[in-house]
């Protein structure tokens, strides 16, 4: 961790710039108030006046953290005001989307590595699918899953289904690319060796290609889980959702409460960080179990 000092330094710099930005951007409101009250604005009034506004242009970090802390601790976990509750709603969609997307990515990769027709026919469309702005399709998916009643059949809400599909759509591609690379990573010498052992295609797959692809898979899973979270949040925006971090942002912007938006944004960032750490922890356990030297 020889970079730790530099990272802390840069974080401190960002913090200082943020506070300066807060004073600069929120100053107009302070001057406005002072002009109405007919008082002069000293620099002390300016600094303190910009730090705790009801509707700041840019809330200072401590105000955001305060809102975040309040949202996490001062309500019951099941309350609609609790950020834990909203985070949980988003996390559920993220998780199922991640599972679905990873499964889809692995199956597609297996097909593409196995069949040359699929490789040539499907792969270009997989790439094109990622250049399509998914959010354009999000409302469509909501309508589809509503009218098909997918959620009712699975015993969950239709909103969760649509969010899950969007999250899966964003997370399958990194897994697909990584898995293809991983399944093709054994070199010809190893494949030839299995051939001389008289191994079938299935055995070669299970004993050589699949284990060889695991490190590649985990590298993609880290990208995939972050993409999945973005998908879940984006999926909440056009669906008129009332629960979830994305919905919090939408409500905050409609009620003109920037602090609420920032708190939801921070909560989403923390969630993303935690999810990546969890995948990384699983990775190190699995790789160690498989005897991969790091």
């Amino acid at each position: 961790m020889r970079n730790a000092g530099a990272i802390l330094g840069v974080l401190l710099l960002i913090l200082v710039l943020w506070y300066l930005g807060t004073i600069w951007l929120n100053a107009a409101w302070v001057y406005d108030q002072a002009a109405r009250a007919g008082t002069e604005v000293g620099w002390r009034d300016l600094v303190f006046g910009t730090m705790a506004q009801e509707r700041p242009v840019l809330p200072p970090p401590h105000q955001v953290l305060g809102e975040l802390w309040q949202g996490v601790t001062s309500y019951a976990v099941t309350s609609k005001k609790s950020l834990v509750y909203h985070g949980y709603v988003t996390l559920t969609a993220t998780f199922w989307g991640f599972v679905l997307g990873t499964g889809l990515g692995i199956v597609m990769a297996m097909g593409i590595v196995r069949s040359r027709t699929l490789d040539l026919g499907l792969m270009p469309w997989a790439i094109i699918s990622q250049t399509v702005p998914i959010v354009a399709i999000a409302p469509m998916i909501v309508v589809l899953s509503n009218s098909l009643g997918l959620g009712d059949q699975l015993g969950v809400s239709n909103r969760l289904v649509s969010k899950t599909i969007i999250a899966a759509y964003l997370s399958y591609f990194p897994v697909l690319v990584g898995m293809i690379k991983g399944l093709r990573s054994p070199d010809p010498m190893q494949l030839d060796l299995l051939h001389t052992y008289g191994a079938s295609v299935g055995q070669g797959f299970a004993k050589l290609r699949l284990p060889a692809s695991v490190p590649y898979l985990f590298a993609s899973l880290k990208v995939g889980i972050a993409a999945s979270l973005v998908g879940a949040i984006v999926g909440e925006l056009p669906t008129g959702a009332v629960e979830g971090l994305g919905a919090r942002m939408l409500v905050g912007s409609q009620f003109g409460s920037p602090v609420m938006v920032w708190a939801a944004l921070f909560a989403a960032a923390i969630l993303a960080g935690v999810l990546i750490l969890v995948v990384r922890a699983i990775e190190s356990v699995v790789l160690q179990g498989m005897g991969v030297r790091s």
């Binding site: 399509v132 973005v230 984006v234 971090l245 912007s253 003109g256 920037p258 989403a268």
Partner: protein
Amino acid sequence: MSGLVAAIGFWLVAWAVNSALARSAWSRTRAVRIAIPVIFGLAVLVLWQGVVTGLGVPEVVLPAPTSIGAAIAGNLPVLWVDFVQTILKGGLAGYLIGSAAAVLVAVLVDRVPFLKRGLLPIGNFVAALPIVGIAPIMVMWFGFDWQSKAAVVVVMVFFPVLVNMVAGLEASERMQRDLMATWGASYGQTLLRLRLPAAMPFLFNGLKIASTLALIGAIVAENFGSPTLGMGFRISTAVGQLALPLVWAEIAVAAVAGSTFYGLVALVERGVTFWHPSQRAT
């Protein structure tokens, strides 16, 4: 029902043709490499049409490709206005500003080792965050029109491009830099003749990732308030009116715009980094 059978028949024939092409001696030629995905896509469209008409799927669930085509043809002016508002004004402007800023900052960061060690891990982390969340804040700051959308796009594309560009500036080899030094090249000359060209493959990698993000940002931001035009606005209102062929028409435009945007970046990349092994292979 006969439509459905015909569509499935077409699918099987197309699959057989593709298999034959993939196994044939010409499978590595350019024409076949393009033909196979085109046939595959065509087969999907025909199957879609066959299923929708054959099984009588209501338009609310899934419109047939022909009715989407009709919606595109019938709404060309609307689609064009939305395209200009969202893609050209919001997406492209933000993409250009964000990428240019990221390249400049990368060159600056590269000069200060302290910043490079500190900013790079943070940049990597921020690039993985759901940055689309800043959309409501940008709409509060810059208003409803395209400026706020461009601002969202600027922040979204900034970090992927920055991280890749900083990595790219490291890409030239020690030996090459030493050679420049023995020729008495100044910092500026080394940057211009050696390190910037060497960074190009990395930069374009970032630019390609950013091209998709730009469109997502531009469309998402319209959910937080927009004037009465733009693709995101049109899609959400058309869904409300259950005018689904129009929604799919917008999706088709978004898909084509996204792919074209990506394709253009890839084309420029081919021209700029013609010397790189990955470009010479094909």
